[in-house]
Point group: C2
Chain length 342, copies 2
Amino acid sequence: MTPSKNRRIVLAARPQGEPKDSDFRLEEVDIPSPGDNQVLLRNLYLSLDPYMRGRMNAGPSYAAPVELNCVMEGGTVSEVVESRSSSLSPGDVVLSYAGWQEYAVAADDMVRKLDPAAASVSTALGVLGMPGMTAYTGLLNIGQPRQGETVVVAAAAGAVGSAVGQIAKIKGCRAVGIAGGPDKCGYVRNELGFDACVDHKGSSFAHELKAACPNGVDVYFENVGGAVLKAVVPLLNKFARMPVCGLIAQYNMSISALPSGPDWSPVLMASALMKRLTIRGFIVSDFEPQRGEFYREMSAWFREGRIKHREDVVEGIENAVGAFQGLLRGRNFGKLLVRMKR
Amino acid sequence: MTPSKNRRIVLAARPQGEPKDSDFRLEEVDIPSPGDNQVLLRNLYLSLDPYMRGRMNAGPSYAAPVELNCVMEGGTVSEVVESRSSSLSPGDVVLSYAGWQEYAVAADDMVRKLDPAAASVSTALGVLGMPGMTAYTGLLNIGQPRQGETVVVAAAAGAVGSAVGQIAKIKGCRAVGIAGGPDKCGYVRNELGFDACVDHKGSSFAHELKAACPNGVDVYFENVGGAVLKAVVPLLNKFARMPVCGLIAQYNMSISALPSGPDWSPVLMASALMKRLTIRGFIVSDFEPQRGEFYREMSAWFREGRIKHREDVVEGIENAVGAFQGLLRGRNFGKLLVRMKR
């Protein structure tokens, strides 16, 4: 019943600013065959994440860029459909990094078998996977939230932000979210249990944020940059910590086309100095040794219902580009996944 | 032989931008008398330091601003000329915070007795005092220099910068200074033993700085901001540390008159993220518990000739304002002190 063709999305051009449809190309190619110690994977879910915008650029970043005319990279949950590995059998479900496509071949030591009985397998791409671990390690290692402190996070309805605020609550903090629109803000407050959530699209955003943080801000988990950052910095308390996890508001920005002035960097530096801030960038792999600890603690909270999550599922690889474009504009509501058509 | 009058400099107006002569006023007032457990001090040396610019502003900073028509604050080395304290006698030399004036009364528990035999007493305002401890604690706690790494510091001929680079050398690092003009750069290289020193006034500054840091920059001890910061950030290595100690280039800047664009803050934030930087502000009092450790280690290095220093001494309280204006423009060469006329 396996179809004979693999549909995949390749990077056709390096986006200038916002990624356009023409920067990608949907291709139909033959399904590859696994070699020794390899498996053929049928992808069930593809994770779409903001970091992917960086991989589309030629410049230096965390990791090498995706080559032109090559498949866009991405984490997947996949089913083994053919195995030439002694450790994996057809029907096994694995976490892999198989990219924006329906089928892929992977070495057996590059995938991790999942237990579908433990949790819905898609959580391996979200709350119990990379986004959850990003929230957990960045907040706890760099943010170091202490009981009674105020933790602010933007994109609070998203995969990382929702986990940040809920972990902050578990640690006894006041959790203040920032999200786009009343539906997301209501969800963040009512379903996720944040103490407050402020709509960054509102005209009185900075004022409302200040009102939501009567004791100032001790931890700002930075995943957006831009106007939100500029609204938060004046509220930071002395010795506040700012884990810098992402900057989605500026991912489409070119260094040769910076925003017009004034130059706000002196404000940021003066705040760092006078408030004795710690501003520290990280990516989740910096904390790889904590994977076991993260998984044990986070999956326990998840089972206990103390950590909730929400998925925004798009059907079909042909809709991945549009979904990703929406992600950069904040259109998703929850962890964004592409479910492959069966 | 004690004169009957005290000359002092008060803050006459809050400076807008660069401090003008008219922002200060030289006054002659009666010499005060000490009460119980107080001493009358004759100041020998007044320390002039960049942080004083912040005290002239009304806005929030580390500490309360100097009130208008009050004496400018500042660290001093002073001689006890009259004592109503059981712990201090006339002739004792003390470290105090007696401000921009010739005489002052101080409580005996607010001064610290110095040993003139141990080191020239003026070092208590420089290499063995606040500036030296600023360099020591900021570099070691936040910069965390490791053998073989590259440490960059600006104002390298100054009180803090000169100590930063020399401590970096002691820790086995490559020390690269930035200073204004060939005389200072020559001194930093030849006398202080930095591996390189780059003239920030040169037209090819950024290019020369890059050439001086062939392995990139692991620690940037930030005490200037502005153009130097913008030249250093592209050279920072992954996981580089930036202790933020001062921002002299922007001390005269008003938050309501930021530099024109483009807005460089997205570059700074993107660098923090992609390079996993740690940017952390501090002031020396944050590390007060390390005072004993600092003094033991630094004075040993000083005695062994491993830490050198240079003083730039101006004569007479009436010249303090001009000297301070020069400090903000980088005109001093070494630790800036005012020696009171006898």
